[in-house]
Amino acid sequence: MTTTPMPATLTDAPGVSGALRPRRRSGRGGLARAVMHNRKAMIGLLLFALFCLLAAFPHIFVPWSHGDPQTVGAFPSELHPSLAHWMGTTQLGQDVYTELVYGTRESLLIAVIAGLGSTLLSVIIGVSAAYLGGIADDALSMLTGIFLVLPTFPLMIVLATYAGKGNLTVVIIVLIVTGWAYGANQLRAQGLSLRNRDFLESARVRGERKSYIIVVEVLPTMTSLILAGFLGSALYSVLTAAGLQFLGLGDSSSLSWGTMLYWAQNQSALLSGFPVWALAPGFAVALLGVAFALLNYAFDEISNPALRPVRRHRAKRAHS
């Protein structure tokens, strides 16, 4: 009687259930339109685009600045915000606003590279666990389960302390190693629910190679999950990298929002009357994080219409 097996993901996180729909949206145009009509997605996308612009062409936003924004003693030190220095200057006489603009690049790069890396790792582990089955699945799911509950930020502190503080590559690798498990868990559940579908069976009967089936048949059905996974781990990476650098576990001579926060805290800028210097980099981190979170939530809404905000007039009619 029960010929349709209950998808395993239904008991998992919300939003996944929407992604399970086997019927796909009508091409790319559908997705673009859905994004355009979703206010959260638009705000997130605009914020993200703004940060990309800042990272790619920082000099547009500070046309008066020439040379290295980190030059020591370029201006008098510890100036309060003024027309010439919108956010004041640091203890070493660097312009905070210029540093903030130029710091975008490293922070954004960390987020995107670490996000891509952990998404890739979660796809490899999650999909192969679901597809291989048997002992391989048991071992891989156990590994995923362990990394899912290991306290990752403390683990990162341990790793970064031993690996020698300050290496950007180390920070990115550590972010990837600690950030893949959640996505892998969801992809595995999705993969398991697909395993006995007809279109995969027919591909097997056609005699396609395993690699072909995984890449051409299985992966496209997971696009929205993979995208959500990327946004989630990018958000995680932005916040965690800034936290690590704030604690002094980043390269303190590099230029990113996290290191700016570290130096501001180091000089106790907040309590000695330089709140803008102390808070502006954190605000930038928060904004980038909000951009990722808004996009992520909007994709949930797009793939699961039940979650969308109820329109006013419809809501009134339902109550009357």
Partner: protein
Amino acid sequence: MRYLLRRLGFFVLTLWAAMTLNFFIPRMMPGNPVSVLKAQLNHSGRVASTQQLNALLASFGFDPHASLAGQYVTYLKDMVTFHWGVSIGGSSLGASVAGMIRQALPWTLGLVGVATVMAFVFGTLIGIVAGWRRGGFLDGVVPPVFVVTSALPYFWVGLVAILLFANGAHALLPNDGNYDIGLHTEWSWKFISSVLRHAILPAGTILITAIGGWILTMRNTMITTLAEDYVRMARAKGISNRRIMMGYAARNALLPNLSGFAMSLGYVIGGTILVEYVFNYPGLGHMFFLATAGTDYPLLQALFMLVTVAVLICVLLCDFAVLLLDPRARAKG
């Protein structure tokens, strides 16, 4: 019963994995504890003989005379029997790690424990109501507001809180420490009120940043659950709204939220390290910062294991709760 045994097995396995990671990370990494230790001892003006150095190293599992396997076995035994060695950090050189942790632990349990549980309970309740009153005021406000708050960095919220409430000579609330200097630990109103005043800002920071995720997941699962046939059935039977909301919808919607709680706990605990650092709150999180600032390997080792144990205990408690709420899990097990 089988379910419980399986979860207990997972508990032991994860703990073992964490301790093994803890053991192998320092041995695979370029930074060498021996040279760090030497530098640190010289820095603090103490000249240590090779013998003393070896004794110190052996005290946290780096016995240079033992084989790797031998070191590993001793390390595991020491970790589970609370023989955590002595600190090699700058200011606390020679202090017993177990003693340091015993002093910090109650503060973290009190602050982080209470704040996290409060965030989960309130978050779940708000999520239930928002999902239930679909299209109501709360449901309109919840998603945009809490998507934003859940993406804020913990430490930044803490810094803003300090700027708003604990800045300047006539600050509303204190911005660092756990109680006013000069007070003694005692059961007096003066002491307790001081502790509470010091806890408000850090606890509020944790609450604001942690609550969003739980509200959103609870609201979303609530909406999905409310579309189920058994909810319609309950309505048709004329069961009171409150019972449908709590007993039919929320009870089922809570299950995925509980496993979500277990999974995100590691992240929340990471955030609280930063909160304790920002507020100079002398708990385990702040100690994490001290350990990494002073490259204090023994302390770091013990702290990481302890945090893992804490998370795992919470995961186990969530499993118990699932068992209580979900007859299916009981029947299967």
